[in-house]
């Protein structure tokens, strides 16, 4: 068996908040997430990027024990301060962990909030359920303080309002206040700013980063937006076809990608680089539906560099403690990003 991709060579250290090992998610006979492994240390902000269908959200849901009915996770997910494995833990145990050690922010804040409950009470609720505040009065005061921390004007009045009275960005800040209420060891964000306007996105991103920095929480940040991940995270993992295909420090991965998929993704998302006809670099074809990725290297049917050897599964090649890639024909180490894409030309149109 190949070693778990992204797994740090050293055994889990004291500082590791989250350690995922050999995580698989299956439904029926199909494997949706395969052999995913990584660790996140206290205070570390790690991005997980990939296109829809790559398995990034399933990875996050497995960590939180929120996989939809019928999907099964196997492998191991350990969280510092929790004495059992999160994979296979029953709901009673998971509900003690969720909202306390692990908190989450999803894309759509309206589905995370109770529309019939004042937001102050919703924040106070997580404090009381996990018994981190002794009584209602102190929980309520803490809720107002949290609303102030996420920058809502007049937090006292905001606590008395219902979710529908807020804008999308404000609702997402309320969700963030709930997530940060118990100073979680790990904050999981799944596309938290995707539905927001750019100016609101800037505000919410800033609050998320500040929130985890202040608490020295670890963060797993899922998005399809490379620029957002580069802005908010220090380390990034690239997922495709249910596997980690590359990981490393943000600067390294985005300036010197090794995996051909990462290279293609960076090329396709860079709107300032066009060929002599003014066209963008693309990856041919489209992401196959879940479970229909080719055997061997999952990217080989869209890769211009694929050969017969790619029909076997590429091993994880570590390039550092937290970095590596799985590709038989990697971008040469010294090459600049997009070196194989058409002539690099600034912003002009053909």
């Amino acid at each position: 068996m190949t070693p778990a991709p992204g797994t740090a060579p050293a055994a889990a250290t004291q500082d590791d908040v989250l350690a995922v090992r050999n995580l698989d998610v299956t439904v029926g006979g199909r494997t949706l997430v395969e052999d995913v492994g990584f660790t996140i240390r206290a205070g570390e902000r790690v991005g997980l990027i990939g296109e829809s269908g790559s398995g990034k959200s399933l990875t996050a849901l497995s960590v939180m024990g929120l996989l939809p009915e019928g999907l099964r996770a196997s492998g191991s997910v350990r969280l510092a301060g929790v004495d059992h494995d999160l994979v296979g833990a029953d709901e009673a145990r998971m509900s003690r962990v969720r909202g306390k050690e692990i908190a989450m922010v999803f894309q759509e804040p309206m589905t995370a909030l109770n529309p019939t409950m004042r937001v102050g009470r919703q924040i106070a609720e997580v404090l009381l359920i996990h018994r981190t505040r002794p009584d209602r009065a102190s929980a309520r005061a803490a809720a107002v303080e949290l609303l102030a921390q996420v920058g809502l004007p007049d937090p006292g009045a905001a606590a008395q309002a219902y979710p529908h009275q807020f804008s999308g960005g404000q609702r997402q800040r309320v969700v963030l206040a709930i997530a940060l209420a118990n100073d979680p060891a790990l904050l999981v964000c799944d596309e938290p700013t995707t539905a927001l306007d750019v100016t609101v996105q800037a505000r919410v991103l800033d609050l998320i980063v500040r929130g985890v920095q202040d608490r020295r929480s670890a963060m797993l940040f899922i998005t399809h937006d490379l620029a957002v991940v580069a802005t908010a995270c220090e380390r990034v993992m690239v997922m495709y076809g249910g596997r980690l295909v590359e990981s490393g420090p943000v600067r390294e991965v985005f300036t010197r990608p090794r995996h051909r998929y990462t290279q293609g993704l960076i090329g396709a998302s860079d709107l300032t680089v066009v060929d002599d006809r003014g066209r963008l670099a693309t990856i041919r074809g489209s992401v196959p539906p879940a479970g229909r990725f080719p055997a061997g290297c999952v990217f080989r049917n869209r890769c211009d560099h694929a050969t017969e050897v790619c029909a076997t599964r590429p091993e994880w090649i570590p390039t550092g403690p937290d970095s590596g890639y799985a590709c038989f024909h990697p971008v040469p180490g010294s090459a600049a990003p997009g070196a194989t894409t058409p002539t690099n030309q600034e912003a002009g149109r053909g």
Binding site: E51, Q201, D225, A230, T231, A232, T282
Partner: protein, 293 residues
């Protein structure tokens, strides 16, 4: 105000030059919200407040703004799906304002729309061939089968796609289907409302290239609406920035991005995360700090 067009018959007005694909003059749109109190009416919503611009034929014109700025209302008015409270809109020199619905067929022939979410704009119970042919049925074209095959090929889909249903396609392919449908009646103007916002990065580049190819080959005028300034910068020659129902700045995309004049435009540009800026050390706090001068 509601200016009546001087000549209701479809003769182009002499004043507006024939080179202008779209001209919008001092358009306002006021909505009345449903009342929430028995005693008083709800305050009116001024969705558009005196919007004017002109788009010459063949131009790629971007409209940028955040939610609630009025860009969707403006699009609906351009497409003849809504009417301005005051002001006038002309497509190819022909005024739409005041024309009855049945006189708007020329708009449907000249101007077609592509929407953000291809899943909600394609009828799930219709075969792709029928979806693409539908505008042709409405306009009584013959030889539809041949035209559908030609359109599917133009957007990079196989001819047998015509016999399948929308759910059998990926998001990017569905957006190609909506582009094929929009092109069916041979329009000269395509209005695209966030056409790539719901797409994955690798597919977004493909669809943007397809739109650029079609605009070039068919000499189309393109109105491209997006909240994503980087996309508009790549696609468009000129851009109008909308804020609170008004156009606060307009100019060539290069000028607006390199040297934004209006404070709102500056804020908008400063808030956009880019890979280049992030790698040069711009943090989330920096993007947000620029919001407050």
């Amino acid at each position: 105000m509601a200016e009546q067009p001087t000549g209701a018959p479809p003769a182009p007005e002499p004043g507006t030059g024939p080179t202008e694909a779209i001209s919008v003059h001092d358009v306002t749109r006021v909505y009345q919200r449903p009342r929430t109190s028995l005693r008083s009416a709800s305050p009116p919503v001024h969705a558009l407040r005196g919007v004017s611009f002109a788009i010459p034929q063949g131009q790629r014109f971007g409209i940028v703004g955040e939610s609630g700025c009025g860009k969707s209302t403006l699009l609906r008015i351009l497409a003849g799906l809504d009417r301005p409270t005051s002001g006038s809109v002309a497509i190819d020199g022909r005024d739409l304002t005041g024309l009855p619905e049945r006189r708007l067929t020329f708009v449907r022939e000249r101007l077609q729309l592509v929407f953000q979410d291809p899943m909600s704009s394609l009828d799930p119970r219709m075969r792709v061939g029928d979806i693409v042919a539908e505008p042709l049925v409405a306009q009584g074209h013959g030889n539809r089968r041949e035209r559908v095959a030609e359109l599917l090929e133009a957007v990079g889909l196989r001819a047998d796609a015509a016999d399948r249903y929308p759910h059998q396609f990926s998001g990017g392919q569905r957006q190609r289907i909506s582009i094929a449908r929009a092109l069916a009646p041979r329009p000269k103007i395509i209005v695209a409302d966030e056409p790539v916002s719901a797409l994955d990065v690798s597919v977004r580049a493909q669809v943007l290239n397809l739109i650029a190819d079609l605009v070039d080959e068919l000499s189309l005028t393109l109105v491209f609406v997006s909240h994503d300034l980087s996309v508009v910068r790549h696609v468009c020659d000129r851009v109008a920035v909308m804020h609170a129902g008004q156009i606060v700045e307009t100019g060539s995309t290069e000028q607006v991005y390199e040297d934004p004049r209006h404070s709102y435009t500056r804020r908008l540009i400063a808030a956009v995360p880019t890979l280049g800026r992030a790698l040069s050390g711009v943090s989330a706090a920096d993007l947000n700090r620029e919001q407050r001068p």
